[in-house]
Symmetry: none
Subunit: 194 residues, 2 copies
DNA sequence: CGGTAGGGATAGGGTTCT
DNA sequence: TAGAACCCTATCCCTACC
């Protein structure tokens, strides 16, 4: 007979998320070995963690599309082709709002309503973090949502998308953001985890 | 609207049963890929096989999926008349038989192809153990599989199922079989580990 | 051998059709 | 209405590749 399915409990899922925030994605064995999580996740394997994280990410993809649609009151076509030539689907998780590197204005986040100022007046990094923060999507916002947020809240130059995309890539490779690979490639996600 | 319902033909159902006997339950893709069955089951998917097998099994045990589910929820198993009481989904693992695989010549094993002898001529216990052994399911065979095996390989009296069910209960309570609980399962499983 | 990424299969809940 | 057929997808499995 096939394997009975062992459904994930909320506690396990929370432990997994905390583990990813602490150790990063792809560090499944490390998370499992961390005494902070090992008791909760004792019945899970590293592969289980990987699979569950993938599932969470996929769920986030659709949730974030829906949320972006409602929040920004805009019809979003499914992002079939990437806005840049990124090939790998991913999410980006903000590691911390208060880290020095990001140099945010206020440690606790951003104000809800940013004035419609020129994007060039703020650092692109700050704007991106504001978007991720204010979209309030615990499981990630895709690029389109972020672009739309910025378009809705700032006066943007025509090459805004490209600049933001480049900045996102930089922030996720050596900045305060963490890449999370997704199984499906029809969109790229950027998630802010509180 | 959707795909028209494609009713299972007796030939397809026979092929599915034969496939389960040959490869075990949960091996839907394997059955589908077996040239012995692939032509008959050409228009079926592995999921179709799984669903059909579920219908067959659950009908045999409870009459319908709905009844099975209700029985599980109320923790009051209400199997059909010829079944004895089930409490929880379980597997039964044979503790007997030191040998690994089916070996027609070894004393404790059973031949792969038993002659179509009258079930009453062999002890029910031996027949059950033969079924469990030859079904080769590491995670257990359910009653339906065992019944089917016996029906396919022996001439059975009309009350075979009842006799086998009673015997299974006895063997699992104080015989060479061990019960193993499953987490989510309608049916009762009987597994032979080699 | 141990670990991860990714494709793919299965199990079980749910839905549609007859 | 019940039951058979079908859908959805979380979970699990298998393999390639370090």
């Amino acid at each position: 007979m096939g394997a009975p399915k062992q459904k994930w409990t909320p506690e396990e899922e929370a432990a997994l998320k905390a583990g990813v925030l602490k150790h990063g994605t792809g560090k499944w064995r490390t998370i499992l070995s961390d005494p902070q999580f090992s008791s909760v996740l004792k019945s899970r394997s590293n592969v289980d963690l990987k699979d569950k994280w993938r599932n969470i990410s996929v769920t986030a993809l659709w949730g974030s599309r829906k949320k972006a649609k409602l929040a920004l009151r805009r019809n979003l076509p499914a992002p079939k082709q990437d806005d840049n030539n990124n090939t790998t689907p991913l999410s980006i998780v903000s590691l911390a709002n208060g880290q020095e590197r990001t140099n945010p204005t206020s440690p606790g986040g951003f104000g809800a309503g940013s004035p419609q100022t020129h994007a060039s007046k703020k650092s692109i990094t700050r704007i991106i973090l504001e978007a991720i923060t204010n979209l309030k999507e615990t499981r990630g916002s895709d690029r389109t949502s972020i672009f739309l947020y910025i378009e809705e809240n700032f006066k943007t130059p025509p090459n805004m998308k490209r600049n933001v995309a480049v900045r996102l890539k930089h922030l996720s490779s050596n900045g305060p953001l963490v890449k999370i690979k997704h199984r499906y490639r029809f969109s790229t996600n950027f998630t802010s985890v509180g």
